[in-house]
Symmetry: C2
Subunit: 203 residues, 2 copies
């Protein structure tokens, strides 16, 4: 039921699993207070009751830690969304509604959003697998909203562009260069691409 996307991870003991949870919790807590800079590795370690070296054994860098935190939050969101799916008439509306719902969730914890999104876009190649997991989760959420079983390549392209817009629009909002209304418009604009691929006469 809950997807356990960690094939190479060598099965943690119970205490280790508990440590991992404490670390992620401390990370999210600190991030909620003061965003990216407030997540300081020494503080995370102390709040989680774990030595600094141990923290680094579990998450090899601050970026890894925050991307894992994002994975965690996205899982929650995905579960929540599945319980109450969007109710729009066509796919574009449902996707836009879903993303706006996610956006409102982020608005409730803007500092946490800041920490997670900044980490995600700052991540270099060493974090690619983890970032990819986040990306696949996002894709799954959007495809769910579209209600598609077997999307065409064109539709997958549209979804990719929607994800691009989603991430980048979040960044402009977080850095205070775009209003909430502007983000809404951008999301609605990009979702029109879905209509374009639904009736494949645009070519």
């Amino acid at each position: 039921m809950t997807a356990d996307a960690r094939p190479a991870a060598p099965a943690l003991t119970e205490r280790q699993e508990a440590r991992r949870r404490r670390i992620l919790h401390a990370s999210a807590q600190l991030a909620s207070r003061g965003g990216f800079e407030a997540v300081q590795m020494r503080e995370v370690a102390e709040a989680a009751g774990v030595a600094l070296g141990t923290l680094y054994r579990y998450f090899p860098s601050k970026i890894h830690l925050l991307v894992a935190t994002m994975q965690d939050q996205l899982q929650h969101l995905h579960t929540t969304l599945r319980k109450r799916p969007p109710a729009g008439d066509d796919a574009a509306q449902r996707v836009a509604e879903t993303l706006m719902r996610a956006f409102r969730a982020l608005q409730r914890e803007p500092h946490l959003a800041d920490a997670m999104v900044r980490a995600l876009t700052f991540a270099d190649r060493s974090v690619s697998p983890e970032v990819d997991t986040v990306s696949r989760l996002t894709t799954a959420i959007i495809l769910d909203a579209m209600g598609l079983e077997h999307p065409t390549p064109e539709q997958l392209s549209a979804v990719r562009v929607i994800e691009h817009t989603w991430h980048s629009a979040l960044i402009t909002w977080l850095s205070g260069r775009a209003s909430i209304a502007q983000v809404k418009i951008d999301i609605e604009t990009v979702c029109r691409l879905i209509d374009l691929t639904a009736n494949p006469d645009g070519d």
Copy 2:
């Protein structure tokens, strides 16, 4: 002719202007070698023949420095593009061609691209004015390619989404999660939005 977008800057002397140029040059040079991490403030200062404190007086943080470097490069690109404008039949084609040309320029200096784009997306509120300048430059380049004097609000929205996609696609390419071909597809996909707003029957 050359837009001097620095209204609050109190007019540098000749030697100061020269220092500023040396710093930006050193920054681009180091970035071309090893990307974001290779741009180390002490090294930039030394390469530019300037004290560390002076470097920080000109650019209050590494992020400011790299965003300014990007402004610089974009100016060049804009000038170059104006000399040889894209030759496509419709606006969408011309924009896609322009962005792919810019993309190829970045491919020639992938490390430099890495440093600039990472700085741009990692920038927090304290860098908003500078990031905004970069954004306006990008918008100008895209509008040039579209060949529009007075874009409608809808068209401006499409341009915003194109910019989002452009930035985010660059990031996925730089972090090795998307191929060059994939970036091309994403750009072409999002450029279809232009057609949508050109013939306003899609609503």
